[in-house]
């Protein structure tokens, strides 16, 4: 196990190294002089030259590259010469010296990500001020996706080919294909703006649901009264609630048609169809961040409700993926011999599904979830922008717009580190789920 993790960490470092090298050279080859950006519009040539010298931009590319690596590495060379590019500046570096190598000293320090060209803030500060919000958002989205995705997947696998299965499939396809900026904008507008104070719930679907429910209950009572016990389809409580659900969906579908027609052709308000009940508002905001400073005291106050809309918007896509993967792998597992064994033991269907089948079906799902989580950590630029979420995606976008090399590199390194870490964790989780691939 230890050997395996060490190997993975080693591969991870190699990958990180490749990423750093690639991004560094790509970004430097795009042209443009960062010194102009730092100096501002009124800088003279002399100032520009000084800035270039200060930032080491006058050096050849390969030297700049090695200097960057030297800054980044936890074990690095520095000296006491203030003019040198590797001067041990205590305002930048924090660490302890180990021993002298020639005229330089070998130091053990925290990796230094340099300063942003545009804002002059240390890149580490920028990352650490934006990263937590992104992590919370990604985590919330993945939890939603995983929980609901697995539940929907299991239901549609068990009820294969039925109404429930087909409707989850339609929802999944819609979730996969709707672009996130679109869903984000709609969600933000509807739940944050229109229904924020008070919600206007359409009455028609509700009536349809009640109607279906009424018929269902009536049929149920009739059956019990007559004691009609046909072999197969006796009406159960579950069946009645399914009818009610179908009624609700049917109602929603008709109402949506009506709304579209109403808004496009502007025909008259049909009684019943257009009626709404005024319900309590959602109380959500159009945009917002997780921590909002209080107007008077200036303390950060947690606003958890601001997490709801962006998390759901972000979670829809992985949710669709997870539910379809769970479905297909559950279908495979339910045909396995050991499920038959579990049934032959006399276990209840619930235990068979959730104890014996689900654990076996989880591996592909874990892969999908971890992949989505890692890519959400890289920042969801659209969603973050629409909800004004102060995340790493926004920070990266700003940096790219300003060709702010240190920030781009810093953010990239942090994101790739996350990818590597998550992959290692997932490999360990596989072992927990399936002892056959548990590593010795």
């Amino acid at each position: 196990m230890g050997k395996f993790i060490l190997k993975k960490v080693f591969y991870g470092i190699v990958i990180l190294f490749g990423v750093i090298t690639g991004v560094f050279f790509l970004q430097n080859s795009t042209g443009g002089n960062p010194a102009l950006l730092v100096g501002g519009q009124n800088a003279t040539d002399e100032i520009i030259q000084n800035i270039e010298k200060d930032l080491g931009l006058d050096l050849p590319l390969y030297k700049r590259y090695f200097l960057y690596l030297n800054d980044l590495s936890p074990i690095s060379f520095h000296n006491d010469d203030p003019e040198s590019h590797i001067f041990m500046d205590t305002s930048k570096y924090e660490g302890a010296n180990m021993f002298n190598v020639g005229e330089n000293t070998l130091y053990f320090k925290y990796p230094y990500l340099r300063e942003s060209y545009s804002s002059k803030r240390p890149v580490a500060d920028i990352i650490f001020s934006t990263l937590p919000d992104t992590v919370y958002l990604a985590f919330a989205a993945v939890v939603i996706a995983f929980f609901f995705g697995v539940v929907f997947g299991v239901i549609s696998a068990l009820k294969k080919g039925t109404f429930l299965d087909n409707s989850t499939f339609i929802v999944a396809v819609a979730g996969m294909s709707a672009p996130s900026f679109f869903t984000a904008a709609i969600a933000s507008q509807v739940f944050g703006e229109i229904w924020s104070e008070q919600s206007e719930l359409p009455i028609f679907p509700l009536v349809a649901m009640l109607f279906a429910l009424f018929i269902g209950v009536a049929a149920f009572l009739y059956q019990n009264k007559k004691r009609v016990k046909t072999e197969k389809k006796s009406i159960t409580v579950g069946l009645v609630s399914l009818w009610a659900f179908k009624g609700l969906l049917f109602g929603v579908a008709i109402w949506l048609f009506y709304i579209v027609g109403y808004s496009i052709f502007g025909f008259e308000n049909v009684p019943l169809l257009g009626e709404v009940i005024i319900g309590p508002g959602t109380g959500l905001n159009v945009t917002g961040q997780l921590f909002v400073p209080d107007d008077y005291t200036g303390d950060d106050i947690l606003h958890l409700e601001n997490l709801i809309l962006p998390a759901i918007t972000l979670g829809v896509r992985p949710l669709a993926l997870v539910s379809q993967l769970t479905r297909s792998s559950m279908l495979d597992v339910m045909n396995e011999d050991y499920i038959r064994t579990a049934r032959a033991k006399g276990l209840s269907e619930f235990k068979v599904v959730f104890k014996h089948a689900l654990k076996n079906a989880m591996n592909p799902v874990i892969t999908a979830v971890s992949g989505s989580f890692a890519s959400l950590l890289a920042g969801a630029v659209f969603v973050e922008t629409i909800f004004s979420w102060n995340g790493i995606g926004t920070a990266l976008l700003d940096a790219i717009n300003n060709s702010d090399l240190p920030t781009i590199l810093g953010v990239t390194i942090v994101i790739s580190t996350f990818f590597v870490l998550i992959n290692i964790i997932v490999d360990i989780v596989y072992g927990f789920l399936d002892p056959r691939i548990r590593l010795k």
């Binding site: 038959r340 032959a344 033991k345 006399g346 276990l347 014996h356």
Partner: protein, 702 residues
């Protein structure tokens, strides 16, 4: 109304398929008495498994449905019709009153739970009174478990983990200081002989003992640093288990001892993939017996196992059946197995029971031609016959399409087909006069086992270990051994499908192991292989014709497509299929037909040498007989040479002129087929022969 333990009365189970309703079980009535074993025999598709699943109430619905009849279970003093039970009531019967053992031990255990847990689950489910100590213990105990396992176990284990790491680091540091100290002393002592020889030799001997730090890998078990650290490791807290669970665990270990599992406490905590197939089947038996069932259904429990393992499992089943006074329904396609075990036999064919009676009755006076066919088609061990008698010796269709029964007895047929000793001798002289087609010389195939830090293997699994033999043109060489003995690896090494480690394989004077890629491609034309699993060795997206024509095209057999097609059609007829099968896809064929297709595909290249790697092991006995006969005919027609690999000694003996017995990668014994069977020299061969189920009629009679 009878007092039978289990009485299946006019049971009909149907399946809704695309082609309408299919009756998988058609009006079947059998009775099982207490303490008796009922054998149900039939080939695959005869409905014997569906019968058992119907009894268990496990027929998948839809598409399956029990459409008629009743299943009476006489248990716990009452008689109930199982078909009328609700799902909830049925669950109390399953595993408790009726238990089942399945065919595939490899896949019948859940891979993500330990064997012990899976057996325990059944006990905890059905035995409600187990280990109850007080009135409230059924509530307090699980509650305590929840609290302890939910909170304390996790905290404690984190603590244990941290302590373990500290201990490991501490020991490592100690060792570092220790050896640096002594290394310095040794340096000083060796540089300055001033200190005298005494001290130097002392330091030398110390370093000899403590090589660990200098080369961690070289250490033996007792002084490798990893081992030392591991000996200091505190084990993780496994969690609190309730009194019921403790009692259940004890019971499971007792059961494991009963089914003769080695190291029961170890296996309790092993996962299914860590134990062998035979052991898995024993765990399955323990699971089935865990709640003292009245009826045990064993659905081909030994078909997937080696003969020696099969013998042991059957012995255990028989013993436990007597001990616990159970009724067993034993389902198999192999009459030989059932002769040793059952009291009564029911023969099933196409969903119906065609013959039913006591073992003596069915074996000595079989009335139905199908039963006769089943009895006769198992390769006999005592005589040599030219062809295995199949069903068509007893019943066949005449020109008008009506069935004709021959009324022949099994013994008569066997006598007709017998080959005389003189014929055998002549054939042997003819074959062994020529020069060998293949000479295998000290062939070795090793697989890397354990690896060191740098990925370099330090241990090898010796799959084929120094094996030499010759194969003569026109002969069939049998290769027999238990699973894992290296026989399949040997076959694949001969074809260069697996890389060898050392040795040579001369084919017509050329070393196969040193051939270039082009030469190898030509070799593939001369040397063909027929694999074990006919289901996965055909591409499901190629028609049969395409599948056979593809290699012909690669090797430029025939001049054009037209001729090739003609040739394939001819081949299809030759192997007993029809010409209109040409455009069909593999899923439309049964296992035996698929194996015929595979045979046609390899014969199409007109090879000289064919390796049959367990080619008939996946098939039923009757289908197996047909395929074996076909292989023999083809050998005589095309002048083929076979290397026939199988774990079934009776099949190998029927097919082969000579037999090689393999064990643990080495050749145990080699000789003429009859010699090996009649006068086995090695103990291993003797055990193999003794384990073959004796389905022979004489033995029953005596």
């Amino acid at each position: 109304m009878s007092d039978s333990l289990l009485h299946i009365e006019n049971l009909t189970t149907t399946f809704n398929t695309e082609n309408g309703i299919v009756k998988a079980v058609d009006n079947v009535s059998v009775k099982l008495d207490k303490g008796k074993i009922l054998g149900i025999v039939g080939e695959s598709g005869s409905g014997k498994s569906v019968t058992s699943l119907s009894v268990m109430g496990l027929v998948q619905s839809p598409p399956g449905r029990i459409s008629g009849g009743s299943i009476w279970l006489h248990a716990n003093g009452e008689r109930r019709d199982l078909t009328k039970l609700s799902e909830k009531e049925y669950r109390k019967v399953r595993g408790n009153d009726i238990a089942m053992i399945f065919q595939e031990p490899m896949t019948s255990l859940n891979p993500v739970y330990t064997c012990g847990d899976q057996v325990m689950e059944a006990i905890l489910l059905h035995d409600k009174t187990l280990g109850e100590s007080g009135r409230y213990s059924s509530i307090t105990d699980p509650l305590l478990k929840l609290i302890v396992n939910g909170v304390f176990q996790k905290l404690l284990n984190v603590l244990v983990f941290v302590i373990n790491i500290f201990v490991a680091v501490f020991i490592l540091t100690l060792f570092a200081i220790y050896s640096i100290l002594y290394f310095t002393i040794w340096l000083i002592a060796s540089k300055l002989s001033l200190l005298g020889k005494n001290l130097k030799s002392k330091a030398d001997s110390f370093l000899d003992k403590n090589k660990i730090l200098l080369s961690p890998d070289s250490g033996k078990a007792n002084n490798s640093i990893v081992e030392i650290i591991q000996s200091f490791k505190i084990p993780f807290f496994k969690g609190y288990s309730t009194a019921r669970e403790k009692a259940a665990k004890e019971k499971v270990i007792k059961l494991f001892k009963k089914v003769k599992l080695p190291r029961p406490t170890k296996i309790f905590e092993s996962y299914p993939h860590q134990i062998s197939g035979g052991q898995k089947q024993r765990v399955m038996i323990a699971m089935a017996l865990s709640c003292n069932p009245k009826v045990l259904i064993a659905d081909e429990p030994t078909t997937a196992l080696d003969v020696t393992v099969q013998k042991a499992i059957l012995k255990i089943l028989k013993k436990l059946q007597r001990e616990m006074d159970m009724g067993i329904i034993f389902i198999t396609h192999d009459l030989g197995v059932i002769a040793e075990l059952a009291d009564e036999i029911a023969v099933m064919y196409k969903g119906k029971i065609v013959e039913q009676g006591s073992v003596q009755q069915v074996f000595l006076r079989p009335s139905h031609p199908y039963t006769k066919g089943l009895l006769a088609c198992r390769p006999p061990l005592d005589v040599r016959i030219s062809e295995l008698p199949t069903r068509r010796y007893f019943i066949y269709e005449d020109e008008n399409g009506s069935l004709v029964e021959t009324k022949k007895e099994v013994k008569e047929v066997l006598n007709e087909l017998k080959i005389s000793d003189a014929e055998i001798k002549m054939r042997r002289e003819l074959i062994y006069a020529s020069t060998p087609l293949i000479k295998v010389n000290s062939l070795k195939t090793y697989f890397p086992g354990e690896k060191n830090v740098f990925g370099k293997p330090i241990e090898f699994v010796r799959a084929v270990d120094d094996v030499s033999f010759d194969i003569y043109p026109g002969e069939t060489l049998g290769l027999v051994g238990e699973s894992g003995c290296g026989k399949t690896t040997l076959g694949r090494t001969l074809l260069r499908l697996v890389d060898s480690t050392d040795g040579s394989v001369l084919f017509g004077g050329k070393d196969i192991l040193k051939m270039s890629k082009d030469e190898l491609r030509n070799l593939r034309k001369d040397v063909q292989i027929i694999f074990q699993d006919p289901y996965s060795s055909l591409n499901p997206r190629l028609t049969i014709g395409e599948a056979i024509m593809e290699p012909m095209r690669v090797h430029n057999i025939c001049d054009n497509e037209m001729q090739r097609k003609q040739e394939v059609l001819r081949l299809l007829e030759r192997v007993g299929l029809n010409t209109w099968h040409f455009d069909r896809y593999p899923h439309e064929f049964s296992g035996g037909q698929r194996q015929r297709i595979c045979i046609a595909r390899s014969i199409a290249l007109k090879p000289k040498f064919v390796i049959c790697d367990e080619s008939v092991s996946a098939l039923d006995v009757s289908v197996q007989a047909d395929v074996l006969n076909l292989l023999n005919e083809l050998r005589n027609d095309f002048g083929l040479t076979y290397l026939f690999i199988s774990h079934d000694l009776s099949v190998v003996k029927f097919m082969s002129d000579r037999i090689i017995v393999m064990n643990k990668g080495k050749i145990e014994e080699e000789g003429a087929a009859d010699d090996i069977y009649e006068r086995p020299k090695s103990i291993y061969t003797q055990t193999l022969i003794n384990s073959i189920p004796k389905g022979i009629i004489d033995e029953i009679a005596s």
